[in-house]
């Protein structure tokens, strides 16, 4: 009986672990991460993603970072730095629509890397950003 209880608790634990990883991803984000991996990205480093998110880069006479528009509190709305348009939160918790379209994620990675860094991001950089964003 005692042994049986332990097994159930262990099973629950495994289930919990499984769910916690699912909570920080979407089927579409998994597809994209697989793609980055196929393009040569190594292990994800979400902490680097977090640091790079707020790092300002001088582009076209303007100091910009991802956080210029999206802020560093990703559960909140952001604001486009020139047009003032409200940008939905980056966090899945407050914006469940996020990370549900591979096409959209690819579009915005391309545009925003070009706008903020002045170049496209590498597969590694995108992996780090995405895994950081998914935990927010």
């Amino acid at each position: 009986m005692k042994n049986g209880m332990r097994k159930i608790i262990a099973l629950l634990g495994v289930c919990g672990l499984l769910f916690s990883t699912i909570a920080a991803a979407t089927p579409e984000s998994d597809v994209l991460l697989q793609k980055f991996w196929a393009e040569g990205a190594g292990a994800a480093n979400p902490e680097k993603g977090r640091t790079d998110w707020a790092r300002e880069v001088m582009v076209k006479d303007e100091k910009l970072s991802c956080s210029t528009c999206h802020t560093t509190n990703l559960a909140q709305e952001g604001k486009h730095h020139t047009t003032g348009k409200t940008i939905g939160p980056m966090s899945m918790r407050t914006n469940p629509e996020r990370y549900t379209s591979v096409k959209k994620m690819e579009k915005w990675f391309k545009r925003n890397c070009l706008d903020v860094l002045g170049r496209e991001c590498s597969a590694q950089e995108k992996t780090d950003f995405l895994t950081f964003l998914l935990t927010q």
Binding site: K60, H80, T82, T83, G84, K85, K103, K107, K110, R111, L114, D115
Partner: protein
């Protein structure tokens, strides 16, 4: 009524109705638009709303002539769209370009779009709506402090900062509310 007064009556009627119309558009244009649609046709294209509206106010196609849209909505031009990368995939660009060209100011029967078409028919087609002479003139008398100096407006480009029904294509004076200037009347 005696017959000889009929031409006079007709002429005065014509003068009465064509006067306001002649100010911004030709009499023929006015005559050819029996529905007299006012304002600018609202955006009814979901791709337009989604793609244009995710970064800025989804300006209606009727706010610029087709020549302007042709220049703006080109793959190369969108790579540097007023300083930002706004590249679209081929399918989306096709939809958006077609929607703009079909509903541009010079293709529209809506009254305000016709005025924009008239104001842009000569000379280089503007890239910015704020460069359209008609739009400039309409905002001419608004003091700088209410637009540029107003932290909640900042530029004439943000239509919906003051035009409360801009998303419906309505830019009528009665629907204007300038932030931080509640008592201002035109």
């Amino acid at each position: 009524m005696r017959m000889q007064s009929l031409p006079i009556l007709l002429l005065s009627l014509l003068a009465l109705f064509s006067g306001p119309a002649m100010a911004e558009e030709t009499f023929l244009n006015w005559l050819a638009n029996p529905l007299r649609q006012k304002e600018v046709a609202p955006v009814v294209n979901p791709t337009w709303q989604e793609e244009c509206g995710s970064c800025h106010f989804a300006y209606q196609p009727g706010l610029l002539p087709s020549q302007s849209w042709e220049k703006l909505l080109d793959a190369g031009a969108l790579a540097n769209h007023f300083g930002d990368n706004a590249e679209l995939d081929a399918d989306a660009l096709k939809v958006i370009r077609a929607y703009a060209l079909e509903n541009a100011a010079d293709k529209s029967y809506a009254k305000r779009a016709r005025k924009i078409a008239k104001a842009t028919e000569n000379g280089e087609a503007p890239l910015r709506i704020t460069e359209v002479r008609y739009i400039k003139r309409k905002h001419h008398e608004i003091p700088e402090r209410m637009i540029k100096g107003n932290k909640d407006v900042k530029s004439l480009s943000y239509c919906d900062a003051c035009h409360t029904q801009a998303n419906k294509g309505v830019f009528d004076e009665d629907t204007v509310r300038v932030p931080n200037y509640p008592d201002w009347e035109d």
